[in-house]
Symmetry: C2
Subunit: 424 residues, 2 copies
């Protein structure tokens, strides 16, 4: 395909999505839920075909030498397709954010009535890699919140993505899904990303889900807002007034409960007054899961052979593995400065029995989620009670932290009166 | 200056602003208000110097042949400086949005307490043209909401901007303003805009205030979020069930009360069933202020010599002048389609006594402000009761419509518990 042909095809999808978004914005919650249930049913009906198409991706992946973990993420079997369908039904059961009144007031001097109401954003582009379930998860959350989607998945899952998107479209249309409300870009070249990123005349938001390279590329090119889900370099600060057993338990959970995710702990900061007592306890517990410790000079002195020396690079690193960097700090100010300098603004925790210290920490740390005596692993849309999530935003504009249905909406002011004019 | 020197200097300002933002985020409402009042006092104390510096801009502007309107926008006299100072005191009197609890809940299954709290955004870049009062207005709103600012004004007001910024800094520092909380880029070359737009490691948001060319340039270059204040191509739809006298009054007010602003009416859409009665009445009223009417074929038939023929271009045009385009439509659907296609998503109104038609219109129109029987001229932070505004966003992400203190904040989740872990 020539660049011009790609552009033309993606532009056509943009134009169509805009029209679909308008139709979607007028659907009732009940209509959307019926559409979602019909999509889930169709996905189950197409189970065999989806698994078959997925097998093509798996074969291609094996030929390209993808690793075992990657192939596992890519693989769909009947149970996984059923889980995707069940996920859709769960979204159908959630409350519809569209139409919710955010605030309303009457201007006393003239009687005009101002109402702020949640409305859909419009057209959302999702650019993602590998996992084919994102095709459904993302499209479905966008649909529930009244938005049209243009999906652009990775080449490694193209057969699976096409099969899933086709099932969603076919199922949805049986229940009144507006045409082109969910579109999958049928090719996976880089140019299609560049074209999407430039078409702010139709696309209101772009969400890249994937590695840092993908996000960086989208940020550089995008003309419309981007919501980013960058690294989680999460910290725990163990204060002088911490319950040390609780601190060991929280650090162990935050680090090892699932090390491969963005809300896992990467750096432990320890107040110098309790370091000699706390660090050996912590090391003993971490040894149960063979966590490698990388400590600063002060920590090394206490931990001895149980740790290695940390390098400057360690404070910047999201290990996503059984590795933990450890630093002894003089006080809470030094801890807060370290977190604000090296953290990624994702999730950070203080462990302390001192309420005043805790409240100060919560104000000092400029992160999406700040914790007092709770594991960082709770940074998650499900754990927050949102019922689903499209990701955890490390941005500060529009959506921050766990991002679910409400975060996929905008608002509109509706002003009602009886002929009020400004005059003169 | 070489490009490298500009980059280095602007980067230094970015780094400094980030540190200042952290200090600002910890100030209490009272501390911020004392700073604001000290700034107002210093501005008054520096009145003579500011007017003197402004005279240099005026002289330069006259030499460069700036028009009368432009020179008037640029000019500062003692009364205008006092008005800027009074504006600062008004902002001091507004409620502090920072620290406000947006929501809070307890997770029943584990007892963790989740609180969503307003926090400052961080560092905000403001890029603006001509009017020197923006130096104060923007910096002060950002300060009140806990944000550091980097201001980059236009070359035509550079002496005035420097004098105002110096007074704000000097006054603020007397009352504890953190160093570098308000910084003005001391040069006005294009490169400084490019450098600002690229430094997302320190700057969280950029707001361009000025013409379409400036906004476009910032959108193309910016790596951080941009909040745009584009054109207002505002519409009024006069329904078949309209009170025609009210419709004349609303159209006249929306068009002529202040034609040079973004919430002024540009296009009038009229239901065909009442066009023959309404259009002559409307034309008669508009003639009082010599409004030029540009009508479609159907409107021309009724208006005759009182109107000229509208071209396709007219439906796209923000006149900001005593000109109004007029189109007769078959029904509300055609009106809504016209507005969603040609409008700029700013402010649009329906005039009708039919409540059901009005409610349908409010849902159909994808604009920041939609009105029923109210002049579009009310789209304004002051009129909404926000006490001030930094602009009217035509974006859908983060802030939409009149943008004031709350829209200059982000939020943070604070999670409190007693050692809760995720487990297994």
């Amino acid at each position: 395909m020539t660049q011009e042909e790609i552009k033309e095809q993606v532009y056509t999808m943009g134009r169509q999505a805009k029209a679909a978004a308008h139709a979607l914005s007028l659907l009732s919650a009940q209509q959307k839920n019926e559409i979602l249930r019909a999509m889930a049913a169709e996905l189950r009906a197409c189970r065999a075909n989806i698994v078959e198409e997925n097998a093509k991706d798996i074969t291609a992946g094996e030929e390209r030498g993808l690793g075992v973990a990657m192939l596992d993420r890519l693989r769909l079997d009947a149970a996984r397709v059923d889980a995707i369908a069940a996920g859709i039904e769960k979204v159908a059961d959630l409350a519809d954010p569209v139409g919710e009144e955010l605030s309303s007031w009457v201007k006393p001097e003239n009687g005009i009535r101002i109402q702020q109401v949640r409305v859909p954003i419009g057209v959302i582009g999702i650019i993602y890699e590998s996992r084919p379930n994102v095709t459904s998860d993302a499209a479905v959350l966008c649909l529930k919140s009244g938005n049209a989607t243009i999906l652009r998945g990775g080449s490694e899952a193209i057969y699976s993505n096409r099969a899933i998107a086709a099932a969603l479209q076919a199922g949805g249309q049986k229940a009144g899904l507006p045409a082109n409300a969910i579109q999958l870009i049928p090719f996976t070249n880089r140019e299609s990303v560049a074209v999407m990123a430039g078409m702010d005349q139709w696309m209101d938001l772009i969400i890249p889900r994937g590695g840092k390279g993908l996000i960086e590329a989208v940020v550089s090119m995008a003309r419309m807002p981007v919501i980013k889900h960058y690294d989680g370099i999460c910290h725990m600060y163990v204060d002088t007034a911490a319950d040390l057993d609780m601190a060991v338990s929280l650090a162990f959970d935050s680090k090892t409960q699932k090390p491969s995710v963005c809300n896992a702990l990467e750096t432990l900061l320890v107040h110098e007054s309790i370091a000699a007592e706390f660090l050996p306890k912590m090391a003993e517990k971490m040894a149960e899961k063979n966590v490698e410790l990388r400590a600063d000079a002060c920590g090394l002195e206490i931990l001895g052979s149980r740790a290695q020396a940390a390098a400057e690079e360690d404070w910047h690193t999201e290990y996503l593995d059984y590795i933990l960097s450890v630093k002894v700090v003089k006080n809470q100010t030094e801890a807060a400065e370290h977190i604000n300098a090296y953290g990624s603004g994702h999730s950070d925790c203080i462990v302390t029995e001192d309420e005043a210290a805790a409240e100060q920490f919560l104000r000092q740390i400029d992160s999406a989620c700040v914790y007092h005596n709770v594991s960082t692993r709770f940074s998650d849309g499900e754990e927050f009670g949102f019922g689903a999530e499209i990701g955890i935003s490390t941005d500060k504009l529009h959506a921050r932290g766990p991002m679910a249905l409400r975060e996929l909406t905008s608002y509109q002011y509706r002003i009602r009166g009886e002929g009020q004019i400004k005059g003169n």
